[in-house]
Subunit: 145 residues, 2 copies
């Protein structure tokens, strides 16, 4: 029962971009990779997913770095999660396309489904703008995580 490292690194990346929102220009992969102590190559894949999900774009040309594609207040943690996972289903029979004939009267499925909604709701309730604000308030001056 763990979130994977791509989601974690992806979120830290998105937080970095949020902190530089509206400051003009972008941040280079290299710079992000250094801040997070992760190889440029691995971050490469993470950036690719964030881009494919439409969450970030190149700031200018190709060597201009990245910036958010939407205001940080419009990007939730769940949005970032979906860039890496497709969907959130804490057990298989909750996955789209895996309907179970017993889903109407399986009390355990009901519990899991309910928990699934609670988790998703929480992830949808927090956006990058809120994280950036917390970051400044808490005085987090170190490199990310």
């Amino acid at each position: 029962m763990k979130f994977n490292s791509k989601t974690r690194y992806g979120l830290r990346t998105m937080l970095e971009l949020s902190l530089r929102e509206n400051m003009g220009g972008g941040i280079l992969q290299k710079e992000i990779a250094e801040n997070q102590d992760v190889s440029v190559k691995y971050l490469d894949q993470i950036i690719a997913s964030l881009k494919a999900a439409g969450l970030i774009v190149n700031a200018g040309g190709k060597k201009s770095g990245y910036r958010l594609n939407r205001p940080s207040g419009d990007i939730t943690i769940y949005d970032v999660y979906l860039a890496f996972e497709g969907d959130l289903s804490i057990i298989d029979c909750l996955s789209p396309g895996k309907e179970c004939p017993r889903e109407q009267n399986c009390v355990l499925r009901m519990f899991w489904s309910n928990l699934n909604i609670i988790i998703r709701s929480r992830m949808e309730a927090v956006n990058l703008s809120m994280l950036a604000e917390d970051y400044r308030r808490v005085g987090d001056t170190l490199k990310l995580e």
Copy 2:
């Protein structure tokens, strides 16, 4: 981001035992295995974990089957989860003994920690007695899940 099958089977097993609470006697591994379409051998391991966690005991002698060791109202879903997992930490740095020097000002850790608490709280809020009641109300007459 999935719960594993042992926790799922374990919960179904516990629900079966709850449905027969106070009816005298116990249920045999074999019977549970048949109801859940899982091999007796695999269920063996699941039963062993539930026993080791002190959640179930032999009803009488060795061939008398199993029963709950506490009233179903005193056993939460989180208790059953712990029989298989040790602890609930949705990311590594939340695990006991994995303290991070930045834990006071890492805003992402704060988010994960908060979500972790929400998940655990929900699992602690539901007990087997509640599941059994739901089961009867919903009219779940089929074999489990």
